[in-house]
Symmetry: C2
Subunit: 190 residues, 2 copies
């Protein structure tokens, strides 16, 4: 839980009292590699704080897997739309490695947040980080070519390139696996 407390305090001021109040909201949970955190069609009632390992969100359309996000240590993974609105999720979240998470239960979180403003503020800040990340990757496609998107990741998010295989990365970058392989080859030669 140490990592989580540090993470929270990097976002917002958080008293020991708030941390105590938050405890009943939290559950530690481990996932095996390839185990699902969230399944398409389910409603997402959790925020998954990633303590160790990483996971990804993906759509499965006509049997083809399309990766839409990767989530590493000290990030929150969730379906923000499903979590907020109670709608069924259109995508899956799966552990890409053995994964240790701390789960925020939605109902308990909302109850507790009504009583403790610091917890409400924490929730706002978690969502803000999530929104910032989405905006960042959304903008990539509007500003840059496939090769430039790869270069952007090399500079700004090298951890993704180090830990995610080329095949997995391709759909996230919006190109075919073969194309990404060729782009990478060009980059090495240049």
């Amino acid at each position: 839980m140490d990592n989580l407390l540090k993470y929270i305090r990097s976002l917002t001021s958080f008293s020991d009292r708030s941390w105590e109040l938050l405890q009943p909201v939290l559950t530690k949970k481990e996932f095996k590699k390839n185990e699902l955190l969230l399944r398409q069609g389910q409603v997402c009632n959790s925020l998954f704080y990633i303590d160790n390992g990483y996971c990804k969100s993906y759509y499965e359309i006509d049997g083809v897997v399309k990766n839409t996000g990767f989530f590493f240590e000290n990030e929150i993974a969730t379906n923000i739309n499903s979590f907020g609105d109670g709608q069924k999720s259109e995508f899956n979240i799966v552990a890409c490695e053995p994964l240790t998470t701390i789960i925020f239960n939605k109902d308990k979180l909302f109850q507790t947040a009504q009583q403790a403003n610091e917890i409400e503020t924490l929730g706002r800040n978690c969502i803000r980080l999530f929104a910032t990340k989405q905006e960042e990757f959304s903008t990539l496609f509007k500003l840059y070519s496939a090769q430039e998107r790869l270069e952007y990741l090399e500079v700004k998010h090298p951890e993704i390139l180090q830990r995610v295989s080329l095949s997995q990365l391709a759909s996230f970058l919006g190109v075919a696996r073969e194309t990404l392989s060729r782009i990478r080859k060009r980059r090495v030669l240049e």
Copy 2:
């Protein structure tokens, strides 16, 4: 202010008392067509509730304008990253029509939110909507081709196609103006 109150109450329970407390946070402001709401390099200290008209966010890179978002009535326009973190904005927001907005002042909003939990919850929900929208458009690029992205807008966001010119829409969809023109022609003939 009527529209704003309805908007707020569609998001979260909001007492008359909270609405009173919120008043000092709010300022009505009109923008002329092509007037900037936010300039690149500035820090964003406002949430712009769109009461009437619409605006867009855009990057200007090597003299070329790239549109990244459109914001219509009953939406909040802002730079979520700049607003939350105090970083300088990398993009502009400009009125595309004569625009009526209600501005939330950041400092006053945060002060007031500390005293009234309903206002903190409102902030969380506004950001949540923002995150959901970003995620939606980010996913489009990973799942669909340019033509499919256009079809998606036709079904899910026809208001964008009705109000935004083809040239403006092109960079938002991540294609050249000429390509979008040809895609549209194909769609009409099919």
